[in-house]
C-alpha cells in the first residue's frame, strides 16, 4: 500500500518539480546570456576556485579509475581475442570504448559523486544558514553569484579530467598487453591508427555537456534544500542520483544521434 501511495505522491508532485527545474534552467540560461554580454559581472575568482576543486583535486581519482577501467577492459578482451591470436586489436577496442563512450561517462559519474554532491551540500548549507536570503536582500542573484561560476567551472573541468582518464586507461591496457608479450610500440601504433579526430572531439564535447549537467543538477539540488535536519544530506544524494540519471539519458541520446547520422 505504501508503495502505491508513494507512486501516487510522486506522480502528484511531478508537475511542480518539473516546472521548478524548467524555471531554474531557464533562469540560469538567461543569467548566463546576460553575463556573456557583461563579462565583468562573472565571478571569475569563484569559478577558478571551483575549477581547482573539480579538476586539480579530482585528477588523481579520475585518472586512477580510468587506469583501472583500461586494465579491466584489456584483461576481458584479451582473454577472448587471444583465442584467435589477435590480442593486438585490444588497443583498437580500448581507444574506441574509452574515447567514445566510457571515458566521458565514467569521468562524469566520478564528477557527479565529487563535485555535484559538494555543490548541493555547499549551497544547501548556505540556504539553511539564510545566506541565500542575505544575497537576495542585497539585490544579488544567487544564480549569477553561486550557480554560474560552479557550472562554468565543471563544464571546463570535465574535458580535462576526461583526457587524463582516457590516457590513463590506455596506459593500463598497454601494461596488460605488455604482460601478454605484445610490444608497446605495436600497441601505441594500433591505438593511434584507430583513433580519429572526430571521435576525440565528439567525446570531449560530450564530456563538457555532461559536466554542465552535473553542475546544473548539483547547484539546483542545493537551491531546493529544505530547512530540515536531513535536508542537506537529501540534496547531496539527489544531486548524485539525478546527475547519474541525466548522464545516462544524455549519453543514450548522443548514441542515438550518432547512429542516425551514421557517425
Amino acid at each position: 500500500m505504501s508503495v502505491v501511495a508513494n507512486i501516487g505522491r510522486a506522480a502528484a508532485e511531478f508537475p511542480g518539480i518539473f516546472r521548478g527545474w524548467t524555471e531554474y534552467v531557464g533562469e540560469t540560461a538567461a543569467v548566463a546570456l546576460s553575463v556573456a554580454f557583461r563579462p565583468w559581472r562573472f565571478r571569475f575568482r569563484d569559478a577558478a576556485l571551483a575549477f581547482q576543486r573539480a579538476a586539480c583535486e579530482g585528477l588523481a581519482i579520475a585518472s586512477g579509475i580510468g587506469f583501472l577501467l583500461g586494465v579491466i577492459l584489456a584483461f576481458q578482451c584479451a582473454a577472448a581475442l587471444q583465442m584467435f591470436g589477435v590480442e593486438v586489436y585490444v588497443s583498437d577496442m580500448l581507444v574506441i570504448a574509452l574515447f567514445r563512450e566510457l571515458g566521458p561517462v565514467v569521468t562524469a559519474i566520478v564528477l557527479a559523486g565529487r563535485s555535484g554532491s559538494a555543490f548541493a551540500a555547499e549551497i544547501g548549507t548556505m540556504k539553511v544558514n539564510e545566506e541565500l536570503d542575505a544575497l537576495r536582500t542585497m539585490g544579488l542573484n544567487p544564480i549569477r553569484f553561486l550557480v554560474l561560476p560552479r557550472v562554468a567551472a565543471v563544464t571546463a573541468a570535465m574535458p580535462v579530467l576526461t583526457i587524463f582518464s582516457e590516457l590513463a586507461g590506455l596506459l593500463g591496457g598497454q601494461i596488460v598487453l605488455q604482460a601478454m608479450n605484445v610490444p608497446s610500440a605495436i600497441f601505441w601504433q594500433h591505438a593511434v591508427s584507430s583513433g580519429t579526430v572526430f571521435m576525440i572531439v565528439f567525446g570531449l564535447v560530450k564530456s563538457a555537456f555532461f559536466g554542465m549537467l552535473v553542475g546544473l543538477i548539483g547547484c539546483g539540488a542545493g537551491l531546493r534544500t529544505r530547512s530540515t535536519a536531513d535536508g542537506v544530506g537529501r540534496s547531496a544524494t539527489s544531486a548524485v542520483v539525478g546527475g547519474m540519471v541525466a548522464i545516462a539519458l544524455a549519453d543514450g541520446i548522443a548514441a542515438a544521434i550518432c547512429h542516425v547520422w551514421g557517425v
Binding site: 548549507t125 536582500t137 539585490g139 544579488l140
Partner: protein, 245 residues
C-alpha cells in the same frame, strides 16, 4: 500615513500563498526610530519582516519602504535602501569578515577599490571589530558574527536596517553590548532600525515603539512605547507578556 515614515504597512495580510499568518496589520516607522516587532515564538513577526525586506510578497494590502512599494520593478532600487541582519548572521563562510562587507560595495558602490576597503574597515571599526577583518566567520564568536553582519547591512548607507532576533543565542552581557551598539549607531548615523525580538530587556533598552502580534488572534494587538504598553494596556495578553506571565 505619516509624512516622514520610512516603512509603512497599510491593512497588510501576512503569510504565504494558501496560509494566512497575520491579517490586517497597519503601522508606520518614522525615520531615525528604533521600532520593535514582538510577540511569542511562532506568532509571525519574522514573516512580517520577510515581507518588509522583500523576500515574500504580501498577501493583501500595501507595503512601502522608503516611499516605494515592493515590486519586480522597484526591487533592485529597494534592495539598496535596506540592510538586513539575519538571526544567524548569514555571513558567507568562504569569505573573510572584511570580504563579507566588501561584497555589497563591490557590486553596487561607485567607490574605487582602495576607497571600498577603507569604507569596509571604517564599518568594522564602527562595530569595534577592526581586528577581525582577516578572520573567517567560522573563527569568531556568535556575537562577533552578528556585529559583522550589522556592519555588512550598513555598507551601502541604507535608509532602514532590519535586525532579526539580534539577541538570540547570546549571553546577557553580549546581548546588552549589542543593544548598546544599535543605540550608538542610531545616534551616530541617524539610521532607522526595525528589530524582531522577544527579549524584554532588549525591548525596554532600545525600542522607541513596538508592535505586538498575537498568534491566537492572528493580528497586531498593540502598538506604542513599551513602558506604556506594560503599564497601561487593557489587554490581558499584553500585560502577561510584559510581566512574564
Amino acid at each position: 500615513m505619516e509624512k516622514d515614515a520610512v516603512v509603512e504597512l497599510e491593512r497588510v495580510d501576512a503569510g504565504y500563498p494558501g496560509s494566512l499568518v497575520l491579517s490586517d496589520i497597519s503601522f508606520s516607522v518614522a525615520g531615525g526610530e528604533i521600532f520593535v516587532l514582538l510577540g511569542t515564538s511562532g506568532c509571525g513577526k519574522s514573516t512580517v519582516m520577510k515581507h518588509m525586506i522583500g523576500l515574500n510578497p504580501v498577501l493583501r494590502g500595501t507595503l512601502r519602504v522608503a516611499g516605494l512599494e515592493w515590486s519586480a520593478a522597484t526591487r533592485a532600487e529597494l534592495c539598496r535602501k535596506i540592510g538586513v541582519m539575519y538571526q544567524s548572521g548569514a555571513l558567507f563562510g568562504s569569505m573573510t569578515c572584511l570580504e563579507n562587507i566588501l561584497l555589497p560595495l563591490e557590486e553596487f558602490s561607485p567607490l574605487k577599490k582602495k576607497e571600498r576597503t577603507e569604507r569596509a574597515m571604517e564599518l568594522l571599526r564602527d562595530v569595534e571589530l577592526a581586528e577581525a577583518a582577516d578572520r573567517m566567520p567560522g573563527e569568531i564568536s556568535g556575537g562577533m558574527r552578528k556585529r559583522v553582519a550589522i556592519a555588512r547591512a550598513m555598507a551601502l548607507d541604507p535608509e532602514v536596517v532590519f535586525l532579526d532576533e539580534p539577541s538570540a543565542g547570546l549571553d546577557p552581557i553580549t546581548s546588552s553590548a549589542l543593544d548598546d551598539l544599535i543605540l550608538s549607531l542610531r545616534e551616530s548615523k541617524r539610521m532607522t532600525f526595525v528589530v524582531v525580538t522577544h527579549e524584554l530587556a532588549s525591548i525596554f533598552k532600545i525600542a522607541d515603539r513596538c508592535a505586538m502580534f498575537d498568534k491566537a488572534r492572528r493580528t497586531m494587538i498593540a502598538i506604542g512605547e513599551p513602558e506604556r504598553l506594560r503599564d497601561g494596556s487593557n489587554d490581558d495578553f499584553v500585560r502577561k507578556f510584559f510581566n512574564r506571565g
